[in-house]
């Protein structure tokens, strides 16, 4: 797995809490809503923490702007990792 995936897992763990993740292994296919049960406000917190780490290049508001509500709720760790990697590569 990539460094971006490892960082995303670390930040997700901070947001969700380690006690919840004891029974849950995060993979590229893990969905934020269905598998992790992330609250909407926690997804905002995730976005903020990612931007704090990666800078303005990573903007989840832009990332989710093109998705409808169902699409947003189904976002997976893999899609997020792909987005971040593309943003970092375009600098």
């Amino acid at each position: 797995m990539s460094a971006v995936f490892d960082e995303v897992v670390k930040i997700v763990t901070e947001v969700v809490g380690e006690d919840f993740l004891l029974d849950e292994e995060i993979t590229l296919g893990t969905s934020f809503n269905g598998d992790l049960g992330l609250e909407s406000i926690e997804f905002v917190e995730l976005s903020e923490n990612l931007q704090e780490y990666y800078g303005e290049r990573v903007n989840l508001v832009e990332f989710i702007a093109e998705k409808d509500l169902d699409g947003m709720m189904a976002i997976t760790v893999g899609e997020l990792v792909t987005y971040i990697e593309s943003q970092l590569a375009s600098v």
Binding site: L36, G37, S40, V44, E48, V61
Partner: protein, 318 residues
Amino acid sequence: MPAITANGARFHVQKLEPPKEASPLFEAPLGKGALPPSDPLHGGTGRSPMPPSGGPSAPRRRAFGSPPTVVFVHGLVTDNLSSFYYTLAGPVVSAGARGILYDLRGHGKSERTPRGYTTVGGADDLCALLDALGVTEPVYLVGNSYGGLVAARTAITAPERVAGLVLVEANCAGSGASAWLENMLNTLTVAALSLEYEETGHRLKAAGQRKMAKMAMAADSLLNGTSIIDDLSAERPLDTWELSRIACPVLGVYGEQSELVGGAQDLVTYVPDCQVEILPGLAHTVLREATVPLRDLILSWMRSSARVTVGASEGVAA
């Protein structure tokens, strides 16, 4: 997590800047002398009441030479800034505005203080946040549901800070608003009792329903651990004469099937500069169910509310 301390509490705040390539939301800057010295954009108080539209004293509107600032004010208890984060904020900012989203006191990731949950307190919080963020220009307020009450209260208590008001599914004045407040109070009182005595949060957590458990526990803490229900009990809606004192442009958006649609008529009747839109087939969930039309209405209204129309005495047209 970005946070600002203001008015004795820590607030979770998101500031969004428009992308450099965004199309300007407003017309190009006006020429010299286009705005009166009393206009807030020039540091004045801007307390001139807005006359009714039409004729030589047609409403003067403000134009901006820089991106306008839009503050999003969410609803009560289970709501937080994410409801705008996922819907209106991105498109409005992409269109060229600066966006400010924040979790109301006690909500989302903002501090849950024991007291301070009136709409007057909410207006004070909002102004204190703007001060802390260094925002001195008048801002557009977009309030959804209870957030509309906070936004309207701010337009009354601090008119110099409000360039325009968007009320989404909010009934602010008169008997309709009183009934709505009473209904909210009854609903939240029942919810508070249920959450406390049935230990809903812990039961959901034990069942592995993490998301619902967290929401239930947060609601329990807010409803049973703060003065919010007492404050709501003492809340009073705006009087209709207060509506008539709202000097800024107002856009009201309601669902045709909403219990609050009567608020639209009050706005039309009493607010001097007002546009109302009733969306067919919708009830209270306008923000979530009609995000795109709502976004288009707001952007269109902001563009038209910012275009300066001046009378002959002013001598300058946009």
